[in-house]
Symmetry: D3
Subunit: 128 residues, 6 copies
Amino acid sequence: MKSHRFKSGLEKLKEIDGQAGEKVIESLASIAPDLAKYTIEFPFGDIYQRPGLDLQKRELITVAALTALGNCQPQLNVHINGALNVGCKPEEIVEVIIQMAVYAGFPASLNGMFIAKEVFVERSILSE
Amino acid sequence: MKSHRFKSGLEKLKEIDGQAGEKVIESLASIAPDLAKYTIEFPFGDIYQRPGLDLQKRELITVAALTALGNCQPQLNVHINGALNVGCKPEEIVEVIIQMAVYAGFPASLNGMFIAKEVFVERSILSE
Amino acid sequence: MKSHRFKSGLEKLKEIDGQAGEKVIESLASIAPDLAKYTIEFPFGDIYQRPGLDLQKRELITVAALTALGNCQPQLNVHINGALNVGCKPEEIVEVIIQMAVYAGFPASLNGMFIAKEVFVERSILSE
Amino acid sequence: MKSHRFKSGLEKLKEIDGQAGEKVIESLASIAPDLAKYTIEFPFGDIYQRPGLDLQKRELITVAALTALGNCQPQLNVHINGALNVGCKPEEIVEVIIQMAVYAGFPASLNGMFIAKEVFVERSILSE
Amino acid sequence: MKSHRFKSGLEKLKEIDGQAGEKVIESLASIAPDLAKYTIEFPFGDIYQRPGLDLQKRELITVAALTALGNCQPQLNVHINGALNVGCKPEEIVEVIIQMAVYAGFPASLNGMFIAKEVFVERSILSE
Amino acid sequence: MKSHRFKSGLEKLKEIDGQAGEKVIESLASIAPDLAKYTIEFPFGDIYQRPGLDLQKRELITVAALTALGNCQPQLNVHINGALNVGCKPEEIVEVIIQMAVYAGFPASLNGMFIAKEVFVERSILSE
């Protein structure tokens, strides 16, 4: 039986990531279904449900953190998509990634921007 | 002679950090005045001048990145102050730092929160 | 009303960390009580409850990770204490930290060892 | 002439990694044979020879550290194989990687798990 | 109109990286031309222009830092090429990367060396 | 009985760090004398003995890496001293640390510079 946190987390994840949420659950099903469960429950069932920050800001700070950390490319791809899905403008995402050059260095910023470019091309925001 | 970037950067830094900007310049004066100059010119004369993201969002993403990186305590202190100075609510800063538990782990989030607590106590937002 | 996850998490945290758990809750009470709640619920109410790995191994891998990350000193202190509390031998903790020199470099290993030394002296495992 | 540390290190590496050890030596032969030598001598000729921690625990803490660091995918692949080779159960490896979500964040844990999945499929522990 | 910093930065970048500089500008043109501009202006128009350290040393410390950080592979490739372009010997680059095993661990050093190998093969310094 | 690597490593460490080497050995004597031994043998008995890079360059790349990693303050202090001991000019050390702003961000560079300032004041290169 699924917990309330799981159900509302899965709904929130769909709101943010569209199909990506279900793909994560499926891809972990054979090896670690509980990690999928936790990934739904804690980030999306607990944190993203909280009222103190709107979803656009939540996605922008996530893009910032993942760009700065520099070793989370798949998640950065997901959350650049997520940011667009909840209404952030492409220009805002670009600004966030540029600003990371200050705090995490130019390589982190450049590598983040190339992922944004992939996402923007895939979504026809940019032509290739 | 100071460049335009330096002058507008210094003004922006004062808007964000109050006295902190001048303290950085002073503290570097004897060893690396040029690093002080670059710290004014590039982040504050170039990046924070850009129109695509308002100052509140710029400070929130900086708090996110510095919390996630986890080894920039002095700068995190400065930018939690900066976020408050440009009008972010304490609750928003708390939300940003909580969310970092998802992306950078609980230690990064907890250590960031203890710095926020120091700042909030210093500014009498919290009593000790 | 506290959730089941919170209650069993708090018990587990006491088993591992003694008083440290309650100190974390108290220290966050004025600024972010929910972060304290999550810190009890997810790590200790979910993860450390799982049967697949005994508590000694869970503490050793935590000491390994925190030593390698290198910027989580307060948590490393807590979990070196935790490892001892659940029955790990001091020699095992020393071995874990030495091995991190291979994967995260000598500075990470040395800085981790100096924290272990503090803990061991505090607990009279070592004389000063 | 090979040192004693090299010879016993190479044997230990074979015990842990099977063919992987010789592949590393070969792949570095043309550019930096001494780095291959050090990689055998220090980690496997010194550290993994030490009596204070059994090989299973040594592999589990290595999987923990490499998952947490998040930028050592090839080595994580090697040591998930190594953990299995010295008798760790797949379930234990999965537990270690799940636990890293607490200390290094969900992206590090998820990315580590996808490497474990590759290894498990390759070894027919999981079907694709 | 291009700034003086941009023009001298672009020249310096060509001196160091050959065609790589223009490729970066082009690849960012559609998404974030200003990030390309900053990447020319600050690192190459400001920092690499400074007299206190010759270009060979500047490239060696960059190779060191990028190897140690471990999540900047594209930039490490560029700067291993850059180091060779400004006259560093392949043996020096190899030494820098080996030494990083001490400070950032063996995985960082090994992963850096494999990038050096790619560059050396591409430039026929090594045969495959 | 001490190995040849230990003896020549200890001599090299004294050449670079003066008293600092013996302090490390002493400080680890009660908890992990073998980590002290490895710290002498591998970095200083193996790596710093190698002919391909002079000691000044070895110290500059170490200062670069430790500044970029950002969580190795005690070791950065030791190696800024080491760089000066083997004849690097203070200006070169300052340049290395400034350049790290490009690759690891301004916080890493600023925090490294404040450690350089401490060292320079302690050695009366700067007045306070």
